[in-house]
C-alpha cells in the first residue's frame, strides 16, 4: 500500500503579537483505505491538524503530499479544486444549506464539479442517500429530519464526488448514542467495504478503537506514547 496522504514536518503558527503554535512538526503517512483516528485533549490542535490535512488551511512549515502531489505551492483556487475533486468533509455540525432539500445538498458538490450530467448526478445522489437510509427524505429540508439523518446526509454530500479521503471532525460529537453508533458504523463501512480512506478527529473511544490506527496529539505535537 502506498501513502495517499503524507505530511512532512508540518507546522502551523497563527501570526500575531503573540504567535500561537497550533501544530508543530507533524510527520504522518496515511495509507490508501486506512481508517485513522486522531485523538487528544481539547485544544490540543487535532482539529487544526485535520484542517491542514484537508487542505482547508495551509501549513506555515513543512509540506503535505496528497495522492503523490506536493500541495505546498498551491494557491487558494488550486487548493479549492483539489478539495472538490479529492476530499470530502464531515463536521460536528452537519452544515447542510437550510434552504435546499437533502437531495440538492448532496448534488451541490457534483454540480460545482460539473463532470457528471445533471441526470447522472441526480441518480448518483439518490443512490448515495438510498445507501445511507435516507430514501424517504430526499425532498425534505434539513430542519425536517433528525440530527442523525442530517449527519448521514452530510456524509452523502462528502461522498458526492467520490473522494479519495473522507475527513471527519468529531462527526458523532453532536449526536445521541444511537445516531452516533449509526454514523460510526457508516464511516467504518466506508473503509472496510468501499475502500475509502477515512481520517477522523474524535473523542469517542468506541469509535477510535474501531480505527486501524490511533494518533494522539498533545500541544500540537504527535505524542508517540499516547494510549487510549
Amino acid at each position: 500500500m502506498s501513502a495517499i496522504l503524507l505530511a512532512e514536518q508540518v507546522g502551523r503558527v497563527l501570526p500575531g503579537e503573540v504567535p500561537v503554535t497550533l501544530v508543530q512538526d507533524v510527520t504522518l503517512a496515511v495509507e490508501h483505505g486506512e481508517f485513522v483516528a486522531i485523538m487528544g485533549p481539547s485544544g490540543s490542535g487535532k482539529s487544526s491538524l485535520l484542517y491542514l490535512l484537508g487542505l482547508l488551511d495551509t501549513p506555515t512549515s513543512g509540506r503535505i503530499l496528497l495522492d503523490g502531489q506536493d500541495t505546498s505551492g498551491f494557491g487558494e483556487d488550486e487548493l479549492a479544486t483539489t478539495r472538490l475533486e479529492k476530499l470530502g468533509f464531515v463536521f460536528q455540525f452537519h452544515f447542510l444549506l437550510a434552504e435546499f432539500s437533502v437531495l440538492d445538498n448532496v448534488l451541490l458538490p457534483m454540480r460545482r464539479l460539473a463532470v457528471l450530467a445533471e441526470n447522472v448526478a441526480r441518480q448518483r445522489a439518490e443512490h448515495l442517500l438510498d445507501q445511507l437510509g435516507l430514501r424517504e427524505h430526499w425532498h425534505k429540508r434539513p430542519h425536517q429530519i433528525s440530527g442523525g439523518q442530517r449527519q448521514r446526509a452530510a456524509i452523502a454530500r462528502a461522498l458526492a464526488n467520490d473522494p479519495l479521503i473522507i475527513l471527519a471532525d468529531e462527526p458523532t460529537g453532536n449526536l445521541d448514542t444511537r445516531a452516533g453508533a449509526n454514523v460510526r458504523q457508516i464511516l467504518h463501512d466506508l473503509t472496510r467495504e468501499f475502500g475509502k480512506t477515512v481520517i477522523t478527529v474524535t473523542h469517542d473511544l468506541t469509535f477510535a478503537k474501531a480505527a486501524d490506527r490511533q494518533i494522539g496529539i498533545v500541544d500540537g505535537l504527535i505524542d508517540p506514547k499516547w494510549r487510549m
Binding site: L56, L87, F91, F95, L97
Partner: protein, 414 residues
C-alpha cells in the same frame, strides 16, 4: 442554470420581505427616473419643436456676414489712402441669381427650400392703419417649409395661388380690424403703390405678436407691390433632420456667399440652457437610484452575514472565492434586472398617466397635455443605471463573502 445562480435565487426567495423592500426601492427609482426624464425631455423637445417648427431651419437672406470690400481697399491692403463718403450704389436689393442658387440648394439631399420676398407695408381698413410684414411666397413651396398651413383656422394657402389679390392675415390682426374672410383691405407699399387685397385665409399661431404683424401674399404680388420684379430676399429651408442645420447652413453660405443662419445658431443660448437642465435632471434622478442601491446593499450584506456558515461549508467543499462572489453578485443582478423590468413597466404607466394630464398654462387659451417624451434611450439609461447601481451595491458584500476563511468559521464552531 449554474449552481451559483441557483443558490442566489434560493437566498432571495427565502428572504421575501427584504428582497421585496429592496426591489420596491429599485422599481420606484426606475419609475421616477423615467417619469421625470420623460417629462423633462418631453418639455425640452416640445420647446425645440416649437422653435424648429415656427422658425425656418435655415434662413438665407440677402446680407453678407462681412461688408463688401471696397475696390480701393483690396488694391492697397495696407491702405495709405482712405476713401471717405463712399455712397453704395443704389441697387435693387435681393438675392442675386436666386434661380441658380435655389437650384443648387435644392440639389442637396434631405431639404426643401422656398423663395420669399419679405417687406414692410401699411394696411388700411375703415380709417385705421397698421404697419405689417408682408411675405410673398409660392404656396406650393411654402407649405413644404412652414407650418403656417396647419395654423390656418380658415381658408388655405392655395387660395393665394388661385387669387392673385388674396392675402392671409393673423387672427390678432383680424380681431383688431374686425376683419373676416372675404373682407377687402388696402395695402400701401413704401414705393407708393396701393392695392385692395381680399382676405383668403386667417391663421392662429398662439404667438400674439406674430398673429398681429405677419401677412402672406403670392410672391408675384409682393414683387409688384414692393417694386422688385423677379427678386427674392429670403430663402427658407426646412431639413429632414433639423440637427444637421449647422453643417448645411455652412455649406450653403460657402457656396452662395449669402448669410445662412441655422436655427441652432439663432438659438445657441437656449440650447446650452437645455443641456445644463438635462445634466441637472439626470443627476437628481440618478440620486434616487443611488438611494435605492443602499437597499440592495443592505439586503445582500444581511444575507452574507447570516450565511457565513454556508459560505464556509461551500468553500471547504471546494467552491472558489470567485464562485462565492458570483453568488452574491448574481443576487444584485437579479434584483437589478427584476427591479428595472418592473420599474420600466411602472414608469411607462406613470408616463401614460402624466400624458393624460391637461393643463392650461397662464395666458394660454387652450388646454395642453403635458409633453411626454417616449424615446427608447431613456429606458436604456434608467435600466442601465439601475443595474450598475445594483451591481455596485452587491459588489462590496460579495467581495466580503469571497474572503470568508472556512477554517476561521469552523474553528469558531468547534
Amino acid at each position: 442554470m449554474s449552481i451559483q445562480l441557483g443558490i442566489a435565487l434560493t437566498h432571495l426567495i427565502h428572504r421575501k420581505r427584504s428582497t421585496l423592500v429592496s426591489l420596491i426601492g429599485i422599481v420606484l427609482g426606475v419609475a421616477f427616473f423615467l417619469a421625470v426624464s420623460s417629462l423633462m425631455r418631453g418639455s425640452e423637445r416640445d420647446f425645440i419643436k416649437r422653435l424648429i417648427d415656427n422658425s425656418p431651419h435655415i434662413t438665407v437672406s440677402d446680407e453678407y456676414r462681412n461688408p463688401a470690400i471696397q475696390p480701393a481697399a483690396s488694391r492697397w491692403p495696407d491702405g495709405a489712402v482712405e476713401v471717405r463718403r463712399v455712397k453704395p450704389l443704389n441697387e435693387v436689393r435681393g438675392i442675386r441669381g436666386h434661380v441658380q442658387k435655389l437650384a443648387f440648394i435644392e440639389s442637396l439631399a434631405g431639404l426643401r427650400a422656398a423663395p420669399t420676398l419679405v417687406g414692410s407695408v401699411v394696411l388700411t381698413f375703415a380709417g385705421r392703419t397698421q404697419g405689417v410684414t408682408l411675405t410673398g411666397a409660392i404656396p406650393a413651396k411654402m407649405k413644404q417649409v412652414s407650418t403656417i398651413e396647419e395654423k390656418l383656422i380658415d381658408g388655405s394657402l392655395d387660395a393665394l395661388a388661385a387669387n392673385a389679390n388674396g392675402i392671409i392675415i393673423g387672427v390678432g390682426l383680424a380681431r383688431k380690424f374686425e376683419l373676416s374672410m372675404g373682407s377687402v383691405l388696402n395695402v400701401a407699399s413704401p414705393t407708393g403703390q396701393v392695392r385692395a387685397l381680399k382676405i383668403v385665409g386667417i391663421f392662429r399661431t398662439g404667438n400674439a405678436s406674430y398673429d398681429e404683424t405677419q401677412t402672406f401674399v403670392a410672391l408675384k404680388r409682393a414683387q409688384s407691390l414692393l417694386d422688385r420684379p423677379n427678386r427674392i430676399n429670403r430663402l427658407i429651408i426646412q431639413l429632414d433632420d433639423p440637427y444637421t442645420a449647422r453643417d448645411v447652413a455652412a455649406q450653403i453660405e460657402a457656396r452662395t456667399g449669402y448669410k445662412s443662419v441655422s436655427w441652432l445658431e439663432a438659438s445657441e443660448d437656449l440650447m446650452s440652457v437645455l443641456f445644463v437642465r438635462n445634466m441637472i435632471m439626470y443627476s437628481v434622478v440618478s440620486a434616487i437610484l443611488v438611494v435605492a442601491a443602499f437597499g440592495i446593499y443592505n439586503t445582500i450584506s444581511t444575507i452574507v452575514m447570516e450565511k457565513t456558515h454556508d459560505i464556509a461549508i461551500l468553500k471547504s467543499m471546494g467552491f472558489h472565492a470567485r464562485d462565492v462572489r458570483r453568488i452574491f453578485l448574481a443576487e444584485g443582478v437579479i434584483l437589478g434586472l427584476i427591479g428595472s423590468a418592473l420599474g420600466l413597466l411602472l414608469g411607462v404607466g406613470l408616463m401614460a398617466l402624466l400624458g393624460q394630464v391637461e393643463i392650461k398654462p397662464p395666458g394660454a387659451t387652450e388646454l395642453v397635455h403635458l409633453p411626454i417624451y417616449w424615446g427608447y434611450e431613456q429606458y436604456l439609461i434608467a435600466a442601465g443605471f439601475a443595474l450598475i447601481s445594483a451591481m455596485g451595491a452587491a459588489y462590496l458584500p460579495a467581495r466580503k463573502a469571497g474572503q470568508v476563511q472556512p477554517v476561521a468559521i469552523l474553528r469558531g464552531m468547534g
